[in-house]
Amino acid sequence: MSADHTQRATRCLVAKVGLDGHDRGAHVIARAFRDAGFEVIYSGLHRAPEEIVQAAVQEDVDVLGISILSGAHNTLIPKLIEGLESYDAFENTLILVGGIIPDEDKPQLEAVGVDAIFGPGTSIEETVEFVREHAGSE
């Protein structure tokens, strides 16, 4: 008999990918997620897609939040998702994108598997609520 109580925690990887040095938004999100009781792994700046995939797989995260303000989302995000798929880690991961994403690019990102896109003006509460509702329901 074991007397363990299951102790689940929502694990999130907040990632900055590519040549984009603006990390204020990522920091704000990381902090908000922490305050929501999530476990947040922060990738640091200038990560290659393969590095983010490696981190997401090894950390077995429920949520991958990609912050991107460089305009390179149409190349970088499909690469990330392909990488996750190659490790069988795509299905179980909620994929969020934050930053500057033009409206006309959104359908394409959603088609490759992004679960939600949060642009400027999104409230922190909205993002946290979205994660609470959708993460870790695998």
Partner: protein, 368 residues
């Protein structure tokens, strides 16, 4: 000896698949197993029981020290060296969690950039999740998963600030304590209680002015610790001894181990060779002196006691629930209707008599 097929039989179908994939070298499976360990998903113990036979091959290093001393950067530099030598590495990086929300920001990965993208370095961040004591169990179990996976080197990195951290690093064969220059005088070091746990000491950021003083302080303390009268004959323990000398780490006259003090500048990779050398020396010492065997026994003992305590604690919770829950019981104590000693005596009595009976009925045959 337990027959592995016995422990396999207890596995659920999903866990049996995880077990196979982990041993096959599937990174996602390893990650999943560690998640189950962390979450204490039902069935995780059976999984670990099956994996236990596959463990015991990796060399486990603990790295601890105050926040900001450069542990992660050092672990990164060390990992890089191991990789260059063709060894695979697993890293468990532990950060504190908020006592209020349980949330945490785990930032150790940021400093582990030099091997990023290399899947043969498996880095896993863990937080305390508000489970005092439980973290050391989860850490030891995650080490097992990495060990069974086949990692040659496993590094456990944690902020050293209390008993919990001491427990964690004790899952390691060799413990390196990282100090930064100017972290206070020798009394601060005494207070921190880190001297007792270090098999070797690293003064990182050794390019700072205060480095020589910190090294000298540490060396004085170490020698006083090993032989309290040594400080009286300052022969070679004078200020000259402040130079980092990996030779210090050799076994001394009476065959014991004197922790070396190594200076590093992790950001520039300086002194990392010496650190790796000292870690290897300590490993060799453990083998030669038989101390390694003793450590493994003690670790197994700690693990057994921890599990036992956890399960007995769980039984106690059940007993409490059956007596109306902790709130009702504590209210009656607070209102002076009864006293805590009587309550506990009543709660424990049935357990005690069960123990008495089982001991009386079937005396355990001692096999060894």
């Amino acid at each position: 000896m337990v027959d592995p097929s016995d422990t396999m039989a207890d596995l659920s179908e999903a866990n049996a698949r995880l077990y196979e994939s982990l041993l096959d070298g599937d990174h996602a499976a390893l990650a999943r197993v560690i998640t189950e360990i962390e979450n204490r998903t039902p069935g995780y113990r059976e999984l670990l029981a099956a994996l236990h036979a596959e463990t015991g091959r990796a060399s486990v290093i603990g790295v601890t020290g105050s926040p900001g001393t450069g542990k992660s950067t050092l672990v990164d530099a060390l990992t890089k060296q191991y990789r260059e030598a063709g060894e695979t590495v697993g890293v468990i990086a532990i950060d504190p969690s908020s006592p209020y929300t349980g949330g945490s920001v785990l930032g150790d990965r940021i400093r582990m950039g030099s091997t990023a993208g290399d899947m043969d370095v498996f880095v896993r961040s863990m937080s305390a999740r508000g489970r005092l004591g439980g973290l050391s169990m989860a850490t030891a179990d995650a080490v097992k998963a990495l060990d069974a996976f086949g990692k040659d080197r496993i590094i456990v990195e944690t902020v050293g600030a209390g008993q919990n951290e001491v427990d964690i690093v004790e899952t390691a064969e060799t413990v390196a304590v990282v100090v930064q220059p100017g972290s206070g005088d020798d009394i601060q070091l005494l207070k921190a209680g880190i001297l007792e746990i270090g098999d070797l000491f690293v003064v990182n950021k050794a390019d700072k002015d205060e480095a020589a003083g910190t090294v000298a302080d540490l060396e004085t303390m170490i020698h006083m610790d090993r032989s309290p009268t040594a400080g009286l004959s300052t022969g070679h323990h004078g200020p000259d001894a402040a130079e980092a000398d990996p030779e210090d780490g050799d076994t001394d006259d009476d065959g014991g181990w004197t922790p070396p003090v190594i200076e590093t500048v992790a950001t520039a990779g300086e002194g990392v060779d010496e650190l790796r050398g000292a870690l290897d020396d300590h490993y060799q010492y453990l083998v030669d002196s038989g101390e390694g065997e003793g450590r493994r026994r003690r670790q197994a003992e700690t693990e057994l006691r921890r599990l036992l305590r956890a399960d007995l604690g769980g039984l106690a919770e059940q007993v409490v629930d059956r007596h109306g829950g902790i709130e009702r019981l504590s209210a009656s104590v607070a209102n002076r209707e009864t006293d805590p000693y009587t309550v506990v005596e009543e709660l424990v009595e049935p357990l005690e008599s069960a123990v008495r009976e089982s001991v009386a009925v079937e005396p355990e045959p001692s096999e060894r």
